[in-house]
Each structure stands twice: as structure tokens, then as C-alpha cells.
Symmetry: C2
Subunit: 212 residues, 2 copies
């Protein structure tokens, strides 16, 4: 009996060739390929049964990997998801794992490693490469702070605060009053437990809010 796989990836070419590869394995068969998270959610909502493994791309339009993971965590907590990604962003890895992904694969992996990942998830329920373990250890050691979810405006403000701009310039860019920006600043100082803008910048860097 074959294990059913679902692929969710907006790069159709990649999704199809991945499907071809997986279908070539005796033990696996690809049942569906979707191009974004909400297609997957729709199918589950209309009664689709859980496959053995979901291969979930992270960078997608409409409903991205993390949003999809959050939905799955809530409504399909038994889903076994392997996250797929082009780049190796530590914060994204952690976000996916926090929301219940069973493993994390870079898209340029060797086919043999994909096969091994699938087998390992079926047998042991998870698959973690050395890189992920490293990221996990790092987060265990350094981050005892609880994770604060920031809103979009706050993220935008944080990114601008990391540039050599005055708050007045930031206010103009964000089309808000100088005083509103001051409110953002004060609020972020409190929830992130920092004392000044330097602390804000260091927080943004440590938590991958800004590109370095």
C-alpha cells in the first residue's frame, strides 16, 4: 500500500517534477498538488482526508507556509508536514517548527535525501537535518524570551528604525503623524523590553525582522 502525498507549491514546474520524482518511488504516490495554502484549506474544509505527508512550500502568494501551518495546527493537528524552502532562514524554520512542521527541507536537496526524509517521517514522525538541529539548539540557548507577535505596521516601523532615519522621516514614509510613530516606538519599547532605539535595532536583528 502506497503512502499518499500532497504537494503545496506555487512553482508549478517544481511541484510537477517533484510529483514525478515521488511517484517514481514505489512506496509513495502524489494525490494532489496545490499552488497555495488556501486551496489546501478549501479541500480539507470540503472533507478531503488527511494524506500521509504534506510537502508545504513556505514562500507562496495568497496563503503562505506559516499561515497555512497555523491553520493546520488548529484544524488538522495530526497532519504531518514537511516544509520546503528556497532559502535557509533560521527564523522561518523556527516559525514552521513552532507551528508543528515535522521537518524542513531546502529545495536543492538530493533526491535521495528527499526519499530519506519521507521514510523518516513515516517511520519516526519527524525528520530534522543538522542545520535545523543547529537552529533549534541556538534558539534554546539564546532565546528564553517569549515570542512577541508584531503587527505589520510595527514590523514596517522596526525595519525603518534600523535605517539611519529620524522618526520624523519614518512618519513621512509611513504616512502617519509624528506622534503616532512616537506611540509605536513607546509601545514597542514596552513589549520588547528595551530602553531605547538601539535596543529596538538589536531586537530586530536578533529576530530576523531586518535583513542584515
Amino acid at each position: 500500500m502506497q503512502h499518499e502525498i500532497i504537494i503545496v507549491d506555487d512553482h508549478l514546474l517544481f511541484a510537477r517534477s517533484l510529483a514525478g520524482l515521488i511517484d517514481s518511488y514505489e512506496e509513495y504516490t502524489v494525490k494532489h498538488t496545490f499552488t497555495n495554502g488556501s486551496e489546501l484549506v478549501d479541500k480539507f474544509s470540503s472533507g478531503m482526508k488527511l494524506p500521509a505527508i504534506i510537502l508545504l512550500d513556505i514562500n507562496m502568494p495568497i496563503m503562505d507556509g506559516i499561515a497555512t501551518m497555523k491553520w493546520l495546527k488548529k484544524y488538522q493537528p495530526k497532519a504531518k508536514v514537511l516544509a520546503l524552502s528556497m532559502e535557509d532562514n533560521e527564523q522561518t524554520v523556527l516559525a514552521m517548527l513552532r507551528n508543528g512542521a515535522k521537518g524542513y527541507l531546502l529545495k536543492d536537496i538530493q533526491p535521495v535525501l528527499l526519499k530519506k526524509a519521507l521514510d523518516t517521517v513515516i517511520e519516526q514522525g519527524f525528520f530534522h537535518t543538522q542545520e535545523v538541529t543547529k537552529a533549534l539548539m541556538k534558539s534554546l540557548n539564546s532565546e528564553n524570551e517569549e515570542i512577541v507577535e508584531l503587527k505589520d505596521v510595527e514590523l514596517q516601523f522596526m525595519r525603518l528604525a534600523c535605517e539611519e532615519k529620524t522618526y520624523k522621516e519614518i512618519a513621512d514614509i509611513m504616512c502617519k503623524s509624528h506622534k503616532t510613530i512616537d506611540g509605536y516606538r513607546q509601545h514597542l519599547f514596552e513589549i520588547l523590553e528595551v530602553k531605547n532605539r538601539i535596543g529596538l535595532v538589536m531586537y530586530a536583528i536578533k529576530n530576523g525582522i531586518v535583513e542584515i
Copy 2:
């Protein structure tokens, strides 16, 4: 005929086992193991001839990898050095390569990769893993700025400026007048071409002056 290798590493246990491994290869023999850069320099100064490859640890007391590379670049420019390191710090990699290292290996590599690295250096004169190539490409794309060498006091100031401290507090810590600190600040603004303390912090992070 065997190629002669010299190992420079302060972790004697590691250096010895590495030597054992290398001696087990037919084509290579370890001629010396030193525990810091100045031992190596001393031997060269007293007429030791150049080995085929020097395996040089980066994190050492007394005279570290980068200092040793600088000496070798000046007095033994034909030395073929493979840098060894525990961690994968992009800035350090680049500093080693800029000073003429032929390659960069993480200490946790597979023995077979070490063998390949040695062979490749002998045959082609260099050995670069994918990670190094990636770091190189990144530095090519982003860093057109020239490298500014900072003095010790300036580095200390930079590190403190990345913490949530006022300049007054920094002055106390560094036992300098508040105005002297202001002089450091202004001087660094000019040579690093930044406009404010945020720019200073971002520079420090991009150039590995502070740990993230």
C-alpha cells in the same frame, strides 16, 4: 613522495587526532603540530622550509588565525593555508581569504571531505566549499565599501554603542571623559560614513564587530 602538512591549533587533542587521520593517508604526512601562530612564525624565522599545506586554526590564544595569516601573507606568501574553524562566521571567512587562505574548513567535516580538500589544494591550489562561495558572492554583491581598520578603543566603543547605553554610561565604562567619547563617535561617523548611532550599530553588525 609524501606531501608535508603542518597543523596549527591550540586544541592539542584535536590537533593530534587530526594528525593521526592525515598520517593514515598515504600521500600525506604531518611534519609539525603547533599550538599557536607565533610558534609557527618562530620556526619559519629560524629557517624551516615551507610545507605543502598549513592547516591553521582561527580561534587561538597568543596569535590567532587572522594575525598569522597576515604574517604569512607578508613573509611566506607562497604558503598554502587551509583555515580551520569551529563556527562559520562569514566575516572571519572573508578576512582569512583576503589574507590569502586557500580554503576554509569547518572542524566538524567528514574525514573524506578533509582528504578531498587536501587533494584539491595540492592539485588546483585552492579548495572552496559551497558555503564559502556563497559568502564570497554575497560580499561581492553588497560590499563595495573599502575595509576600515579600527583601533581597539574604537572597537570597544562600537561594541558598547550596540548596547542600550547612553554615551555617558559608555564614558564611565571606558574611563574616558564624556567629551572624548563624543570625539570617538564623531570620528567613527566620518570614517564609516554613517549619519547616526543606528548606522554605527548596523555597521558593527554587518562587519562582525559585535556578536549577534
